[in-house]
Subunit: 301 residues, 2 copies
């Protein structure tokens, strides 16, 4: 039986406009994208918060995908909302608004049934809350952490404390520079390893992702999609594919982590092809394996 | 015996400043970087122009590296000079000056002894001159072409004529967008293939390079260097390694082109680690093979 994976993160509605169209009230948030991607490999358990406006269809959809939502707290008020516009260069975006709503008072409570979950993903929330989560779980086998420039700039001490407690740190290339003050990838990774995590993944968006595993490195390109319709959720889906695949492995070693990173790239590519979680809902394992193989073939001589 | 490769391009002196230091009067130019990189695989033949200030040491150095310089015209006047400053983000640079000098009147003349060279690299010069070169060579086996945004913007018709006559087009990702008006890589490649070349390579700098071979694609990351000291000449060294390796192969097919692209990445990485051509002068084949293997290992599960 696969081990399950617990994610703590945001649950949101997004209003997104890209060069390829617009979508309002799109289900989003790190916990949602992560869970949906991970659900193709294992049973994800979600901890998050939503308002009373969170619709029945979203709950049904998540449950339909084997996402355990006993940890999704529904409270009086509105769900977190984010609005953004992506540029013609799809890597650039402007945030139009961020309405935290009920997410502003999010204090993650890990349900008793979740506390022994072996795989834990700390989605991008305040480092102090991530530390709270770590206090509530019992001997997780493998902990991965996401963060963002906001926490690097405003709560660095807390963030470094969390970083020191996790097995895998997943950040993007600009966050690596911000965190280490090193513009060179190898120099940044070296510095970061001394701060705790044995495993580090540097996401480079359409340029793929690096895995630094102690002193060894591995790289996978992103899957080249025909149309990057909406990049929202790509990073969380990457993490969901990665952690979902790992949770389904017997062992965590350099080889399984390499494969997990490629599955992460695969799940990220399915998400960006469509708005919201659409690219993850109609997907079957055969399509995932087919894209995994295509991505491997891309780098094979 | 290896086939030889003919390059037509610039010969220059560069004044370069990067976050890691500065170098004045550094030997540079596309024909020089290309030849020096190709010299590790085959005998390059260079066609270019320099002024009477071109020093004896540079000639000795090129000859020492088996570069045939019978096609290097030395004329009254000064050699082409370029000055530039690279930013902390080493991918950004400002040109301080461009003194074309004798390069302004460059009319490439292919020496009789060079006309049957099987491999031809048309370095980044005016498309009309590239067409002149094509008229002077006799049935080359394989022609590769480099160009730049200036020619895409100012002499597009000529450029499209040259593109229609070559086997391999080597451009960077921003030039692909400019040339095809497509921001998506696959869409851009598809459009470009209809304009002539069966083989297209898209350089993405530190993010590696794509090969589009008819309907198939291959990708290699760049070799992650510990310090990118000076990116000047990286693209031409990439092309030199690629064409040099190909010229030494018995056959041109998808497999040999894939390997050639990886050798291109390897030679590019040696150049950026040092100023000018320094990274190519002390190099032996063992170091090249070692880095080739490391680059392959980087993507191997």
């Amino acid at each position: 039986m696969n081990d399950s994976v617990l994610v703590v993160g945001s649950v949101a509605f997004d209003d997104v406009e890209t060069p390829f169209g617009k979508r309002e009230n799109a289900l989003g948030g790190s916990a949602v994208f992560f869970s949906m991607a991970a659900s193709h490999f294992t049973s994800p358990r979600m901890v998050g918060i939503a308002g009373t406006d969170f619709p029945e269809e979203a709950i049904t959809m998540l449950q339909h995908h084997r996402v355990d939502i006993r940890g999704l707290e529904i409270v009086e008020g509105k769900t977190f909302r984010w609005g953004g516009v992506y540029h013609d260069d799809i890597n650039q975006r402007d945030t139009l608004y961020t309405d935290l709503n009920v997410f502003a008072d999010f204090k993650p409570v890990i349900p008793k049934e979740y506390r022994q979950t072996p795989f834990l993903f700390l989605g991008n929330i305040q480092p102090a809350l991530q530390l709270d989560v770590l206090d509530q779980v019992e001997n997780p086998k493998y902990i991965a952490l996401d963060t963002m420039n906001l926490w690097i700039n405003t709560t660095l001490d807390d963030l470094l404390t969390v970083i020191g407690k996790v097995d895998l740190l997943i950040i993007n290339d600009s966050e690596l520079v911000l965190l280490t003050k090193e513009t060179n990838l190898l120099a940044g990774l070296k510095k970061l390893h001394t701060q705790g995590p044995q495993h580090i993944i540097i996401k480079k968006g359409e340029h793929g992702a690096f895995l630094s595993y102690n002193t060894e490195i591995f790289y996978s390109p992103a899957f080249p999609v025909k149309q990057a319709t909406d990049p929202t959720g790509a990073g969380d889906s990457f993490a969901g594919g990665l952690m979902g695949y790992l949770a389904a492995c017997k062992e965590i070693n350099f080889t399984t982590l390499k494969k997990a990173l490629v599955y992460g790239c695969v799940m990220g590519s399915f998400v960006v092809e469509n708005f919201s979680t659409d690219g993850l809902t109609q997907l079957d394992r055969k399509q995932i394996e087919s894209r995994y193989n295509a991505l491997r073939k891309l780098v094979t001589i």
